[in-house]
């Protein structure tokens, strides 16, 4: 039976267990629901869980473990000279065996018999069936493929049997446990709680995964480049390392970090007022119609791929700002030289800010809308204007949520890449003029990872060091932000 059929059967068994258990519980209750601890549906769910969950776990384990076991035993049958080869060679031979085995299952027994001893014919036949082989299979491979097929079949049969037995046994176990005072709801809810817990543990696992996937490479980087030079260096100039070999330049983090913060700051300066005012207007002033149109429209801004923003900045916003600045300086001093570069912190900040508007506005809008009406009434009833009510009552009450939304927005600003590459360029510099180009950490992460650079060189490895550093920095920022939010919340609750 294929896995999907087994899953389908499990669902059916679960459904039957559910119905039977529910019926039994209802019968036990004898019409008086108070006789039961939980609703009959919970007894049903309890039985269904017992029927499906253990069987499902066994199924998953079996599916992930059995190919390995089969592989090792099939490889046991390889001739001695093949076994003498390197493990990777054997891996490749085995994958050929697996392909042959897959092809064999598609042949009728007549066809199989006809080509069994003729590798060339077998290759042709399989290719005809849509299973092309890289070369002619060797005779031992065909044997191994047959054994593989046989073992897979056995394994599958055994698995099917075990799974079904488990499912039925689970269902019976659960059915036997049903009694009027049996706390089915609590148990079902315990399982749900474990599910919820499991879901929230994914966040932790992600973090662990991220750190682990960067740590070893970052360590290799720090083995070559002293940590001090990296963390306190003020020059970013890694130089190219391709075929040439092992030379490298300077890896100063500071210019990247400053660029990240500067561009993020400008973006937030655009996004926060615009987004917040848009949210306030939508939540407090706009008619349902205006709100119904403008909110989804603004959300489209969040959905536009960042590369589109990048080109928008490069082709439209940047040149506009440059020409605009030339006009201004022309009006002021008579000389039409631009003081804003086409690629600048300002360009990147504005365009990124536009992208972030809906992050601020949509989230804040929902949070503001959730502030109880009684609070608004209280303020309006005192003769406050609407804006006073919003500024002094609604916003403070919504503040913790808004800070959360802003935090998320800031996070997004720090993590953004494409816009910066196209709008602010890749020049790592330390300076304070917003009209000049700068660049960010993430830009360098992407660029160092995707170039022609030698992949064992510090030039590439630095991406991992940058990644982990950024991770730690944002972590600290977030801890600080949590502290701030807590302080506010205590004040307002």
């Amino acid at each position: 039976m294929s896995t999907s059929v087994i899953l389908l059967c499990l669902v059916v068994i679960g459904a039957v267990a559910y119905l039977v258990a529910r019926g039994r519980a209802a019968a036990l209750a004898g019409g008086r629901s108070s006789a039961l601890h939980s609703r009959p549906a919970y007894y049903g769910a309890y039985a269904a869980i017992w029927a499906v969950l253990p069987a499902l776990i066994v199924l998953c384990v079996w599916l992930s473990v059995s190919p390995g076991i089969i592989q090792s035993s099939v490889r046991g049958t390889f001739p001695a000279d093949v076994k003498a080869e390197a493990a990777v060679e054997q891996d490749l031979s085995y994958s050929m065996v697996a392909t042959v085995a897959r092809g064999l299952t598609m042949l009728t027994s007549d066809e199989a018999a006809a080509v069994a001893n003729d590798p060339a014919a077998l290759q042709a036949k399989l290719s005809e069936k849509g299973v092309p082989l890289a070369g002619q299979p060797q005779p031992y491979m065909v044997e191994a493929a047959k054994k593989l097929n046989a073992m897979s079949l056995t394994s599958r049969l055994a698995m099917t049997a075990v799974v079904f037995v488990l499912a039925v046994a689970g269902a019976f176990y659960a059915l036997r446990a049903i009694a009027p005072r049996f706390r089915a709801r609590n148990r079902v809810e315990r399982v749900m709680l474990w599910g919820l817990l499991l879901a929230s543990s994914i966040a932790i696992l992600t973090t662990v995964g991220i750190v682990l996937s960067m740590l070893s490479e970052a360590t290799r980087f720090f083995a070559v480049v002293p940590a001090g030079d990296f963390f306190f260096g003020t020059v970013w100039d890694p130089r190219f390392a391709g075929a040439g070999g092992s030379s490298f330049g300077q890896f100063g983090l500071i210019p990247l970090l400053l660029g990240t913060l500067y561009i993020g700051l400008v973006a937030m300066l655009v996004a926060v007022p615009v987004g917040l005012f848009a949210a306030i207007y939508m939540a407090e002033y706009a008619s349902p119609k205006v709100r119904g149109i403008s909110k989804p429209l603004l959300e489209v801004l969040a959905g536009i791929p960042t590369i589109v923003y990048g080109f928008f900045a490069l082709v439209t916003v940047g040149p506009f700002l440059r020409d605009f600045s030339a006009q201004i300086s022309g009006l002021l001093s008579g000389s039409y030289t631009n003081f804003i570069q086409a690629q600048s912190v300002l360009t990147a900040g504005i365009v990124m800010g536009i992208m972030l508007i809906p992050y601020v506005s949509s989230l804040s809008d929902d949070i503001i809308t959730a502030v109880p009406r009684a609070l608004r009434d209280g303020s309006l009833g005192l003769g406050a204007t609407r804006s006073e009510t919003i500024k002094k009552v609604v916003l403070p009450a919504a503040l913790p949520g808004i800070v959360g939304a802003l935090l998320m927005t800031a996070s997004r600003a720090i993590g953004e890449t494409m816009i910066v590459v196209l709008a602010a360029g890749v020049a790592a510099r330390i300076q304070i003029n917003p009209f000049e180009p700068m660049t960010t950490v993430t830009v360098k992460i992407v660029n160092q990872l995707t170039g022609d650079l030698e992949f064992t060189s510090p030039q590439t490895l630095v991406a991992f060091a940058l990644g982990i550093t950024l991770f730690c920095i944002t972590l600290c920022l977030n801890i600080y932000a949590l502290y701030i939010v807590r302080k506010y919340r205590e004040q307002y609750e």
Partner: protein, 440 residues
């Protein structure tokens, strides 16, 4: 009944007391300013959206049309199957020399001297290199065509397409452009005879990627993005909501949950390419899932989207008034029932907003897909999420980096499709949110 309360004679209306100065003028000015800020903010956003869309659509709408040339093709047996072996060996049909059929057809159509090599070359160059494949597929599917003459509409070469759409500056020196004057004349000739037409570009939506702009389509990318979205939606929404519910409603408030909260906020700040690194090392190297597969992409984007959804969901859950919780608990609802029957539905608008934003973000991401092999040239449509595929933003990214002029309009066309995809996807969520939205 109201007569008893009508004012009786002798009763006066009170006199207004001296007006207090409560700064009404100033406050109203502030009020108007405040409202104006709001309108300005929304206008600002919408104007930018409009300019952006205008730019994109202005550049990209032409991608939805495609120049095709209808030619009477003679499927001569002598060219296709000279030895009449197709019954015994169907592969001769695959290997046959179809370009010759096309060459003959266009030469005849344009009345060119067949012995003038450069003319013939320029003429055949007007047809897409995919055209022979088109003829081959026709013949393989229906061998009875052999010996017949059929009118076939084949794609024009991308340069002819651009020229036909007026995107090539014909004032430029002939040798500096991809279409020479002869070809332009022929093109006009074909247009006049009705053989060369602009048609709706269905290929853009069904074809896989191609190195030939005229044949390149978003088919694979659309399927890939669809898989990605389904995977992300199916995983990140339930996991995100479940995690938020646990953290917000069940988890004890202690240092550990603080840590989790900080951690989740931090995950939202992790640059997206880092998720690509994670996906590469966990899903491909450790678990052994195939490269370039949308399943891996979906998992990576799920992890990337989760923090957004969790943060938004937690904020939404927190905003549900405690009195609702008390009411449910007081009736004997279990905490689980309270959450799923009351709190969650009330939090739905916020959750949906977070989901929309998260999905939109995921839908537009390229960087994390780079490292797991999804930024790739994929010609075959994936049948399952385990097969190689690309995604819409990837297609945008790759086409944006192409040298050929014809890809420029396609890039914008792909962006339009991506935006449409996004809008369609969001529409459902927005409708849902409308249903849930209310004040209490």
């Amino acid at each position: 009944m109201t007569d008893i309360v009508s004012p009786t004679a002798g009763v006066t209306v009170s006199k207004a007391p001296a007006r207090r100065d409560i700064g009404i003028k100033r406050r109203y000015a502030a009020e108007r300013r405040f409202q104006a800020y709001g309108i300005a903010a929304i206008t600002f956003g919408l104007v930018f959206l409009f300019i952006l869309l205008w730019t994109v659509i202005g550049k990209g709408y032409t991608a939805f049309q495609q120049t095709a040339i209808t030619l009477p093709i003679e499927f001569t047996e002598k060219t296709i199957d000279p030895n009449n072996k197709r019954a015994s060996d169907p592969s001769v049909l695959v290997a046959a020399n179809y370009p010759v059929l096309l060459r003959d057809a266009i030469v005849k159509q344009l009345n060119i001297n067949a012995s003038s090599k450069p003319d013939v070359r320029d003429a055949t160059a007007m047809l897409s290199k995919s055209a022979p494949i088109q003829l081959r597929d026709m013949v393989v599917a229906d061998p009875s065509l052999i010996g017949k003459t059929v009118n076939v509409s084949v794609l024009a070469d991308a340069n002819i397409d651009s020229a036909n759409k007026g995107q090539i500056d014909l004032s430029v020196d002939e040798k500096n452009r991809k279409v020479n004057d002869k070809q332009v004349n022929w093109m006009n000739q074909l247009k006049a005879s009705g053989a060369l037409t602009k048609e709706f570009n269905t290929g853009l939506f069904v074809n896989g990627n191609s190195s030939r702009p005229e044949a390149a389509g978003l088919g694979v990318a659309l399927i890939g993005s669809l898989y990605l979205m389904l995977i992300v939606l199916a995983l990140s929404l339930p996991i995100g909501v479940a995690a938020s519910i646990y953290l917000e409603e069940f988890a004890p408030k202690n240092k550990l949950t603080d840590l989790i909260e900080v951690n989740i906020n931090n995950l939202a700040a992790v640059p997206s390419i880092v998720y690509g690194l994670l996906g590469l090392s966990v899903f491909i190297n450790f678990i052994g899932l195939p490269r370039s597969a949308s399943l891996v992409g979906g998992l990576v984007l799920t992890l990337m989207t989760l923090p957004t959804i969790i943060i938004a969901t937690r904020a939404a859950l927190r905003a549900v008034p405690p009195s609702i919780r008390a009411a449910a608990l007081g009736l004997g609802a279990s905490k689980m029932q309270m959450v799923f029957h009351h709190v969650l539905p009330l939090a739905m608008p916020g959750i949906l907003t977070g989901t929309i934003i998260g999905l939109a973000h995921a839908l537009g991401e390229t960087a994390p897909l780079l490292l797991i092999g999804m930024v790739a040239f994929v010609a075959n449509a994936p049948a399952t999420p385990l097969e190689p595929s690309t995604a819409l933003p990837v297609q945008v990214y790759m086409w944006a980096n192409e040298a050929e002029r014809a890809f420029v309009e396609r890039t914008s066309g792909a962006i339009i499709v991506l935006l449409l995809f996004l809008i369609v996807m969001n529409m459902g969520a927005i409708l849902l949110r409308r249903r849930f939205e209310r004040r209490w």
